[in-house]
């Protein structure tokens, strides 16, 4: 009688754990990274890194042309004076940044 109860308890615990694991595995974790663009501290655009795209970022200071291609993001053209954003090259991993100070533009890869 007592053994049965313990067995039932173990089954219950195992059942709850298994259910929790299934729920955990089913929650979407947003596989791909996102390219987030902010201008003057405000979010301007948010694009998936795994989809090729082209975005002209228009700010008070001017424009920066962002290209996402083959899982990499880069600024290929800008009318800022120093061209630091263009010279930064392509970014692809989480936390990497392209910054254009004159235009107050930040392009960041987030998970």
């Amino acid at each position: 009688m007592k053994k049965k109860r313990i067995l039932a308890d173990i089954l219950l615990v195992a059942g709850v754990l298994a259910a929790a694991l299934i729920v955990f595995l089913l929650i979407p974790r947003g596989g791909g990274s996102t390219v987030v663009v902010t201008v003057d501290g405000k979010e301007y655009a948010s694009l998936p890194l795994d989809e090729d795209a082209e975005l002209l970022i228009e700010s008070e200071g001017g424009t920066n042309l962002l290209i996402i291609s083959g899982g990499k993001a880069s600024v290929v053209e800008a009318d800022c004076p120093n061209q630091v954003c263009v010279e930064t090259g392509a970014i692809s991993s989480e936390g990497q940044l392209i910054v254009c100070l004159p235009h107050k533009v930040v392009i960041e890869i987030v998970d």
Binding site: D9, L12, V13, V16, L17, A20, L21, F24, T38, D40, G41, G95, L97, V99, C100, L101, K104, V105, V106, E108
Partner: protein
């Protein structure tokens, strides 16, 4: 009843196993008018809401410091350093306590570095600022020598909560110390409240609060060192600050020569002693002031100064491609 509590207990266990309770890493990076540079904030917190609350506070407080220390813009209802400069030669100006603290610190920094960081150099720095931003032609030696007659920091007279510039032709430029000072003030306040596991970077002025959320030190790379033997070096920071002054970030070119933004008070021309100087110490304001001070100082003098300051280390990148490090830094580098 027993079954229910057992089920709840195992749910809790599941939550602990799968979700964990360690703080998560959150971050934000933006360029705004605040000190006209990149502000990066990273923090390990238990919820995004708490991260947003603290990072929001950091940004808004930095914004206040920026307005107070701004010499180019006026703001409604604020007496800032522009107000002080415009009143040069006239009556004392009543200012916020945070301005008085900055100016007192500036006097100390000037004395500590033998005048290599001098906020009373505004008249000279304004000529170079104009050259960098507009004319792209360096100022004449005559104009610089004339401006240099009005750079005595002792003519900045602090009395209670007022400040007066006794020389009508002088002006203050706090560009070499303001960011670091503001970052230190904001972070020290949070630290006193027990906030830990954070990193705040304002235009390369890095201040850490404790270690990272996983208990390991923050790792700082100095991008100015790429191409040297120290390219892949990481400086571990745990509650420390690191500031780099570099010649390759802001400059203009004229007749094939490069003019950077760090002006040597002795020559009145851009300092060409180093490519960059990095300072590691606890206080971000001191790190900021010292990085400029060391940039304007011969290596041996800089080494002696760093050795005399407890808990302070430095790294000098020289134009010939070599890198010099202070005695205590060698052991720290990873």
């Amino acid at each position: 009843m027993r079954k229910l509590s057992l089920a709840l207990a195992s749910l809790l266990l599941a939550a602990l196993l799968l979700g964990g309770c360690a703080p998560k890493r959150y971050g934000t990076t933006e360029v705004t008018a605040v000190f006209d540079t990149v502000v990066t904030i990273t923090g390990y917190e238990r919820s995004r809401a708490r991260f947003e609350e603290i990072s929001g506070r950091i940004k808004s407080e930095l914004g206040e410091y920026h307005k107070l220390f701004d010499i180019y813009n006026e703001y409604d209802g604020i007496a800032n350093l522009r107000t002080v400069n415009l009143a040069a030669g006239g009556e004392p100006v009543e200012v916020d306590a945070r301005i008085i603290e900055l100016l007192e610190f500036a006097k100390e920094a000037c004395a500590l570095t033998g005048g290599r960081v001098n906020i009373a150099m505004g008249s000279v720095l304004a000529l170079w600022h104009e050259a960098r931003e507009n004319t792209l032609v360096p100022p004449s030696e005559e104009a610089l020598a004339e401006a240099a007659k009005h750079t005595n920091i002792d003519d900045m007279i602090i009395d209670g909560n007022t400040v007066r510039l006794a020389d009508p032709d002088m002006s203050l430029d706090v560009g070499a110390i303001a960011k670091g000072f503001a970052v230190e003030a904001v972070c020290a306040k949070l630290e006193a409240e027990g906030v830990t596991g954070w990193l705040v970077s304002v235009g390369g002025n890095v201040r850490t609060l404790g270690a990272r959320g996983d208990g390991k030190p923050w790792q700082i790379a100095v991008s100015e060192l790429s191409g040297t033997e120290y390219e892949n070096v990481r400086i571990p920071l745990e509650g420390l600050s690191a500031v780099t002054s570099g010649a390759d970030q802001r400059y203009f070119e004229y007749e094939g020569r490069r003019y950077n933004h760090i002006i040597d008070p002795e020559t009145l021309f851009p300092s060409e002693r180093y490519v960059s100087v990095t300072v590691v110490t606890r206080d971000s304001g001191l790190a900021d002031a010292l990085s400029t001070g060391l940039f304007n100082m011969p290596l041996e003098e800089g080494r002696a100064l760093v050795a005399s300051l407890e808990g302070t280390e430095a790294l000098w990148y020289l134009p010939d491609g070599s890198v010099a490090v202070s005695d205590g830094l060698g052991g720290l580098l990873g």
